[in-house]
Every structure is written in C-alpha cells, then in structure tokens.
C-alpha cells in the first residue's frame, strides 16, 4: 500500500434494486486521493456522483448497497465496516458537507451545542476545551464574534453563514478527508466565491484532502487539482484540472464544456448534447454515451477502459477526440 494514498477505491459498484432489475448508480469506479489533494467530481443529475460520495462515507441507504469493489482508507479496508465502525470514522477522520445546510443542522439546538456534541462524540474532552476548538473552527471559516454566534439557532443565520457553520463542524475533528457534495449550489455567487476561497485556503493550510462534487465545471475548476467527469455511473474522463480543461478528450466532456453559455459568443446557439441520460437500469451495450455521441462507431459497442492518454490524463473512449485532433481549443 502506497503510504501517500489516503483513499483508494477499486472497482466500486453501488446498486439499487428496482422492478426492472438492479440499477448500478456507481458502476465500477476507481479513484485514488492523496493527502492534501483536491479532487473534483463533475456530472449531471443521475450521473452517480452523489451516490459515489455516499458510498465512500458508508451512507448508502437501504435497499441500496455496495455490491462490489473495495474502499481503502488510510491503509485500512473499510468496505465491510459495520455501522458502529463507520460512526467512529465519520465526522472524525472523514467528514461530509451536503448541499443544503438547513437540513444538516438541528433547528432546535443552539449552534454551539451541536458543534460541541460533534467533538465529544469522538473525543473524551471537557465542554470548555471543546468550546475552544469550536471557536477556533468558526474563526477559521470567517465567522466573526464566535461567542455570540454559538448561542444562536440555525434559523438566525443566513444561508451562507449556515454553510460556514457546517464547514466549521466538518473541520472540528481535523479530518483527513472532507467530501463536499454541491456545497455552494444553493448559495449566491458572491457567497459561493467566499466559500470557495475559504475552502481552498483551509485545504492548503491543514493538508486536508477534499473531494468536491458539483455539476458546475466552473466551480470545480476553481478549487480542484484533479477532475473526474462521471457519466451514467462511470468515470469517463479524469485528469489534472488544467490539462483536462485545455484538452478535453471525451466527447461528453467536450459537449459539456461547449454547452456552457460562457464559452459561446453572445446570442449564438449553444452546442447542446442531443438526447438525455440513458436509463441506468437499462444501459446501452458498450459505451453508455454512444447513443448521444456524434462520433460513435461500431467499435463503441464494446465498453472501453479508462485509458491514460498522457501521464495525468485518462479517458474512457475508443477514439478520444483530442488524440484525433478533432477538438481544437480555440488557438
């Protein structure tokens, strides 16, 4: 086991039973993340990015379950952890931040009490000492005068402040890994920018590894060192952020970037990807994207592997666009 790898996922498959047969929301995902690394996971709704995050946290609800693969955290295989074992890990070594801070906080408990509870659940520590840790965490996420704020209830905070509280709570036990699932999607662009900066700085200062899940490629580009693009439960492209954005190679990634309004001159038609996501319970044979792909050939009837096209860039496509030189990046 490579000691620098904090989290390693091999062949992860998470299924949900449906009347039409099992549905693989996560379908053979391999991922590795090192300490201090920031990995962005991008995909549209239904791509499996949220279930992937939940699977890593052992939070997949029944009747869904991880049916194959292995999750290794800090050298320990946690795939078959019991709920009690997960509880020792969650909020302690691994923390999660969800999209809606309102539902993450208890509305009838003071902020301070909730945060102190999160520390005392994992550590035998006095309330006064815990309160001091809470204060420091709040200052770190930009909440001034923490002493007053600790006595407040969640409804007395704005949406952006609530998300800061959730982030501060995630930091309390100095986790090795934070998984953030669309943490800024519900926030205004100015608040989103503030939180992006804070998270970027926190990861740099504390060496915490971060998995940032988002539908917004623009947001991920601001924070992630590496990006993985998911489509229909599989990673279709993965690479160092800058390299991947400069030379996207999977037709889906290319299409996704082309449909962003910011990348098209004003008033011109946007390049949209025809059709919609395939049904996960009835995936097309071979490449899942082939039915929507303008470059699809017979060769796409066999599922391609995620193959490296350069040292930092891997693509799941039989004929990646960049290699063929079909996608010029504007220069």
């Amino acid at each position: 086991m490579n000691p620098t790898k904090l989290l390693s996922i091999q062949g992860l498959r998470t299924e949900f039973p449906t009347p039409d047969g099992p549905l693989a929301a996560v379908n053979g995902v391999n991922l590795e993340i090192a300490r201090g690394d920031v990995l962005g996971i991008v995909g549209e709704s239904g791509s499996g990015k949220t279930v992937l995050g939940l699977s890593i946290m052992g939070l997949v609800d029944q009747p869904g379950r991880v049916t194959a693969g292995r999750i290794t955290f800090d050298g320990t295989d946690v795939t078959n952890y019991s709920e009690a074992q997960w509880q020792g890990l969650r909020g302690n070594k691994v923390a999660m931040i969800f999209q809606d801070p309102t539902t993450s906080l208890n509305p009838v408990q003071r902020i301070g009490a909730q945060m102190i509870e999160a520390i005392q659940a994992h550590r035998d520590i006095s309330s006064d000492a815990a309160r001091q840790i809470v204060r420091e965490a709040m200052v770190r996420v930009g909440i001034n005068s923490p002493d007053e704020r600790l006595e407040a209830y969640p409804h007395q905070f704005s949406g952006g402040m609530r998300q800061r509280v959730v982030i501060a709570t995630a930091l309390l036990n100095a986790p090795d890994l934070i998984i953030a699932d669309e943490p800024t999607t519900a926030l205004d662009v100015t608040v989103q920018a503030q939180i992006l900066r804070d998270m970027r700085r926190l990861c740099r200062d504390t060496g915490t590894a971060l998995i940032w899940i988002s539908h917004d490629l623009g947001v991920v580009a601001q924070i992630a060192h590496r990006v993985a693009v998911m489509y229909a439960g599989r990673i279709v492209e993965q690479g160092a952020t800058e390299e991947m954005l400069k030379s996207p190679s999977h037709p889906y990634t290319v299409g996704l970037m082309a449909s962003m309004p910011a990348n098209t001159p004003r008033g011109q038609r946007l390049a949209s990807i025809p059709g919609g996501l395939p049904q996960l319970s009835n995936l097309p044979k071979g490449c899942s994207f082939a039915p929507r792909c303008t470059h699809a050939t017979e060769a796409c009837e066999i599922l391609p592997d995620l193959c490296f096209t350069s040292a930092n860039h891997a693509v799941r496509c039989v004929s990646p666009l960049h290699e063929r030189g079909q996608h010029a990046t504007g220069d």
């Binding site: 549209e44 709704s45 704005s158 949406g159 952006g160 402040m161 205004d188 662009v189 100015t190 608040v191 989103q192 920018a193 503030q194 992006l196 900066r197 539908h215 917004d216 490629l217 623009g218 947001v219 580009a221 601001q222 954005l245 299409g255 996704l256 970037m257 449909s259 962003m260 309004p261 910011a262 990348n263 098209t264 004003r266 008033g267 038609r269 946007l270 390049a271 949209s272 990807i273 919609g276």
Partner: protein, 331 residues
C-alpha cells in the same frame, strides 16, 4: 423600437399593515412594530419589442417580485406598469382576455404543471377559456404548439411525470406561448436544468424570439446565462436597479462597484478566482435596508456622503445608467 413594457417609479411592499391592536399600542406609547419589506422600490424600466432584458441580482434583491409585477400576476402599490402604453390589466381581478400579452415561465416545471392534467389539456385550457380557439380545434392546436417547442404528437395524452425536466420545461413554454403573448417573463427558467439540457432550452428561447418576435424579461442569478441571451442587462440590489446597460457594455465596462464585484465572482474555466474577497458579507436584510446608498456597507469605494445620500439612476454614457455617487465623481 416601440416599448412593449414600461415601468414608471413602481413600488411594491410586503408586510403587515397596522391593525387596531397596533394603533392602540402605538397610542399608549409603544414603538411601531409594523414590518414593511420594500421588495421593489421606485423602479423605472422599459422593454422594447423583440428585446431580451436580463435581470440579475442576489437572492432577496426583489428580482422575482419585479418579474411578477411585469407579468401582471402581482399588483403594484404605486407607479405605473404599462403594456403597449396602456395600464396593465390586473390578472388577479379581471377575468377573460385580461393581460394575455405577458406570460410567465417559472423555475420548476414540475411544480408549474398540474400532475393530473394531460399535456393536451394543459396547453389548450387557457386558449379555450379565453375564447382564442374552439374546443374542436384543441387537438390540432396542441400538436402545433408542441411542435414549436420540439415535442412530438405522442406527448399529447401523457402526464407531466412521464417527461424529463427539460421536456417539462418545453411543455411550460408551449403553454405560455399558446395565448400568443408578446412578452415572456422567464424567472430562473433554466436554473433547475442540467447544463446540456439548459443549453437546449436557451437555444429554444432564442429561436422563438426570432420566429415570434417575442420580448423577454430574463431573470436569473446565473450571470453567464443572462449574458448569453440578453440585449440589455439590469442589475438589482435590495429592491432597486443600480445599473442598466447593453449586455456588452455592462460586461466589458461595469461602472457600479456592485456589478464589478458580482462579475468578478463568477467562477469560470479560464481564470482563477482572486485570493481576496471582492465583496464582504452578504445582502443586508431588506426589512431594514442601509441608509443612503444601500450598497455602502459592502462597498469598497464608499465615501462619507454615501451613508446619507441616496444616489439616483443617472446616465453616464449612451444607454448606460448607474446609481452611484462615486462613479459620478469621475471626470
């Protein structure tokens, strides 16, 4: 170009009116407790025929209220809302034929459609009720209306839950267009859609504008979307318009410090976010807006007089109006 929509110093407040108990309490010396939220405070605005006017601002700035005033589904307190030079009919009071010229498309198409109404009925209900078509023509009319938004005839007898999010929004668009409006108010109409689907709907909006000579009030928190579709853009802050200009002028040369901050905080693929916050804090409570210029507590270039003096929306260049004392000071 003739103006289809004209707003003259329009006001709209929400809140509790003083009742008997309040008046008695005040008479006995209690402080007045009436809370009034000025959602739209003295707004002048025009939309020309065939024009797309974008409206941006953070949540709580009053942009949705303004959209509802323009659509005539919310009465205004004072000022004039003119449609083709005549006062807008109050849709909440008048009955048939009133205010069909302005239609609205909402954010969540699932909530905007009756789950138990077939698509054919959803589309033809309004034109039949207003006497635009006969019941016998409904079928053929619905086929044509669906064709306009890229849906096929087989959609007619289905129910909303049988469609994807993007298709449902197409149905809402077909329904809004069924009464031949001249103006369409789009309130976050693409916000809930995935980026590749969002591109399809934005293209549809642009195509329909060309083929039907529609005017749009396009409200969105997403500046890159507004930038893409709009001819002119208005920026709103705490119930007031602080800057309005042609889309290219506003984006390339924003004058108001709020607009400048808002634009710099949009995450993009090509440039990293600056390390410093462009804007501190969040939108103040609209229940008690700051004195003078409402932006002064967050403004990086605020001067002493900004605390007491409220700026007016004044032209600085051709077609570019700004409400800022500091901008006016420049040579």
């Amino acid at each position: 170009m003739p103006q289809v929509i004209e707003l003259k110093s329009v006001h709209r407040s929400f809140g509790k009116k003083t009742d008997l108990a309040d008046r008695i309490a005040t008479a006995f010396g209690a402080k007045s407790t009436a809370h009034v939220l000025k959602a739209v405070d003295d707004v002048d605005l025009t939309i020309e025929q065939g024009e797309v006017l974008g409206l941006v601002g953070e949540s709580g700035c009053g942009k949705s209220t303004l959209g509802r005033l323009v659509a005539g589904i919310l009465p205004h307190d004072s000022g004039d809302v003119l449609f083709n030079g005549k006062p807008m009919a109050d849709k909440t009071k008048e009955k048939t034929g009133a205010g069909l010229g302005v239609q609205m498309i909402f954010q969540n198409p699932a909530a905007a459609l009756d789950p138990r109404q077939r698509i054919v009925d959803a589309i033809t209900e309004a034109p039949i009720a207003h006497g635009l078509i006969q019941r016998s023509e409904a079928h053929a009319f619905a086929i044509e209306a669906l064709g306009r938004v890229g849906l096929r005839e087989d959609a007619l007898d289905r129910y909303p839950h049988q469609f994807s999010g993007g298709q449902r929004q197409r149905i809402c668009i077909a329904r809004a267009l069924a009464v031949n409006p001249e103006v369409v108010v789009c309130d976050e109409s693409v916000a809930s859609l995935d980026v590749s689907i969002q591109a399809q709907i934005i293209n549809l909006f642009l195509d329909l504008r060309d083929s039907l000579n529609l005017s749009y009030l396009f409200i969105s928190h997403d500046i890159s979307v507004v930038e893409h579709v709009s001819d002119r853009i208005a920026v709103m802050y705490l119930g007031q318009i602080v800057e309005i200009a042609s889309a290219s002028d506003l984006l390339e040369n924003p004058l108001h410090p709020y607009t400048q901050a808002l634009l710099s905080e949009v995450p993009t693929l090509d440039k990293p976010l600056s390390e410093e916050h462009a804007l501190e804090g969040e939108l103040p409570s609209p229940l008690s807006p700051p004195s003078g210029c409402r932006f002064h507590p967050r403004c990086p270039i605020a001067m002493e007089e900004c605390r007491s003096l409220a700026p007016q929306l004044e032209p600085r260049r051709t077609g570019h109006r700004v409400s800022c004392l500091a901008v006016g000071k420049e040579p």
